[in-house]
Symmetry: C2
Subunit: 401 residues, 2 copies
């Protein structure tokens, strides 16, 4: 790509990228670009294949994927325009211009001031980029209607589709920079899990909510950025409700406790689950159920390789649990893809005949839920490799603390 003026010798200065070292990896055809630029190139190629003239993104996960810019949608028009032919261009409020130039690789930035009519400015930008008068535009799936209206004002004859048409397929296979971030997020969650387990008998007497506080402090202490989703501590019978987050119940000796939490590193989340007993004897039935879930989880991970369907991975876990007589108590799918979104493709669920491919990342999290008694869930994230699966989580899966 031309116009990459701020770079010299084909390499970005340190500090120009969120994590400069990631772009040194995976040097297939081009070593002189960041992962973000490579993804944008791929999106542009996919646009051509889809017969679309331009992709228009707003702040959100797709824009983060293409540029690293990780903010939320606000009132003022801020778009990344990726024409099928032509330079990717940021159209931004003047207030955001310096931030966009500092935080993203995109060299072409058009800023509009508060004294300008943003729709007229956008029309000028479209004209300069050579967007045809009757284009096919793919707009971000979460773009606000008010911005879709602006695009329709600028190109009244446009046909409008959704960005997911080209970006979903790209995002489902994680590139090396993404796998690196996911690996480090998993390491942070693993370290927090070790610290929580180390509480041992000190956890007895804490409320679930108090233990959540300890977990979230640990996640921050190990370098995580906040929580990736609402932290789950399901103690005793509360563990039997898969959607229970946490409450005021105090943890007792002998309680099985479902611990499901995650944090973010470089924007990417972790998501893992262990079911532990901080102190005391949980009883024979729990031991049997826990061993069953462990076997089911291993069976599913062992079944992973490219070309196998998502459905088959679900079946591998489910058949172990059914054989043990707990089929009715495994009330959810076996897993979900994990990327910038904590829940995305591929879904590891009965009936999904999507074939696994190298670079896909998903959770494997079978569970057994015995109403009024306890629940057991064990979850690791895995990356599909050329011949199997690489687990991202590596902590002890046993229940003893």
């Amino acid at each position: 790509m031309s116009g990459y003026a701020p770079f010299s010798g084909g390499f970005p200065p340190s500090g120009a990228l969120p994590r400069a070292r990631t772009f040194l990896w995976d040097c297939g055809q081009r070593c002189d670009v960041t992962p973000f630029e490579r993804r944008t190139d791929a999106a542009r190629a996919a646009l051509e294949d889809a017969g679309a003239d331009a992709l228009v993104c707003v702040p959100g996960r797709n824009l983060q994927y293409l540029t690293g810019f990780a903010e939320s949608q606000r009132e003022r028009q801020l778009f990344l325009i990726v024409p099928a032919a032509g330079e990717p261009t940021f159209f931004v409020p003047a207030l955001s211009e310096s931030q966009i130039r500092r935080e993203t690789w995109v060299p072409t930035v058009r800023a509009w001031g508060d004294d300008a009519d943003p729709v007229a400015a956008l029309a000028g930008c479209f004209d300069d980029l050579g967007v045809p008068t009757t284009p096919r535009l793919l707009v971000d799936d979460t773009m606000w209607a008010t911005f879709v209206q602006d695009l329709r004002e600028v190109r009244p004859a446009a046909t409008v589709g959704l960005a997911s048409e080209v970006l979903s397929e790209l995002r489902v296979r994680k590139d090396p920079a993404e796998r690196d971030a996911l690996r480090r997020a998993a390491e942070a969650a693993d370290e927090a899990m070790r610290r929580v387990r180390a509480l041992g008998s000190d956890a007895v007497g804490l409320t679930e909510a108090e233990l959540v506080g300890r977990i979230e402090s640990s996640l921050t202490a190990v370098g995580g950025d906040g929580v990736a989703f609402e932290t789950i501590v399901g103690s005793g019978p509360n563990g039997a409700m898969p959607h229970h987050a946490h409450g005021e119940r105090r943890i007792e000796a002998g309680d099985p406790v479902v611990l499901d939490f995650g944090t973010r590193v470089d924007g990417y989340p972790s998501d893992q689950t262990r079911t532990v007993v901080f102190e005391g004897d949980p009883g024979e039935r729990f031991r049997e159920v826990h061993a069953t879930v462990e076997r089911a989880q291993s069976a599913a991970v062992d079944a992973i390789e490219p070309g196998v369907t998502a459905d088959a991975i679900d079946a591998a876990a489910r058949s172990v649990i059914e054989a043990a007589g707990y089929g009715e108590a495994f009330v959810h799918r076996t897993g979900h893809g994990v990327g910038l979104d904590v829940h995305e493709e591929p879904y590891i669920v009965a009936g999904n005949d999507r074939k696994l491919e190298p670079g896909m990342v998903f959770s494997v999290e079978p569970g057994i839920y015995l109403d009024g008694a306890f629940g057991v869930r064990i979850e690791d994230l895995v990356v599909v490799t050329d011949d199997g699966a690489e687990p991202l989580n590596r902590t002890d899966r046993g229940w003893r603390c």
Copy 2:
């Protein structure tokens, strides 16, 4: 409105509304409806005036305004459809049906299950509601593009406009239930401010971030629901940067400290600012500047009455500050409307010739910012009354703790 089956005798059962007592107020023409239903009636009348056939809202502030349902937009189609003629109808995922029935006044709820095609189900709903084949639809300004696409699939010949076309004018005048919630949110913030001031010399030595922790704990302790915006503690020279939120600087004796925070009660925010000195002597210049800002704030509040322009209120504050020689140091507008959104119409800014009307609620918050030295801002929320303004905040405006 007919079909209000769950109610008997024209009154809702207790528990059917977030705050049942609010609907007993303001019984102008109809005492048998909730504020939400009255707002929806008004929106429907406005739709007719605008020549629109239906309003379609997604989870967000407009939906909260019309129904009290206060969630965020998610992947599954969840719409409130308000036809210009016909019953307001919720179109919701089956998973959400019981919550919608429990939490909102809307009697007609159409649920679609995970085994259904939501777009086909939506088409059936539109047909049953008698939405014409070439309708004019007003869609929520923040509706995701993917849902706008669904509507276009259901009604390909529709003309699409934005919900703000009818709802902005309704929302700008707060009804009694809204004023009540805003008043209680202001009371919570006032009580938290009293507790913070009571720290006195105990606040000296805390970092700004630590003081933020104390403030946010106080907001929760007095019944507030989280923070309405990022809490600002600007100590010493940091107070001179209006956009500084907080940092690691430690508060020193003699420091002026800008405290700007808010919480929510029943969904409505508070927003008030005091500039205080926890201990010690801030010096003569600070005392002069603080007195100037106090006079400017009072002058603006005194100028408020129906028919006066927003511009004139800004001028009333600005002229006091200019006369004192600090005009250049008052770098922002005098205020902003406050409702479900913390920033909304009316904006109290030079050039805004919008006339004030009873029921409008906005902030009055002049400030003086002396680079490298300190800042002073004093902010209260006010309601425009029939002949003046009612302040919602009532704590001491002085700087001594």
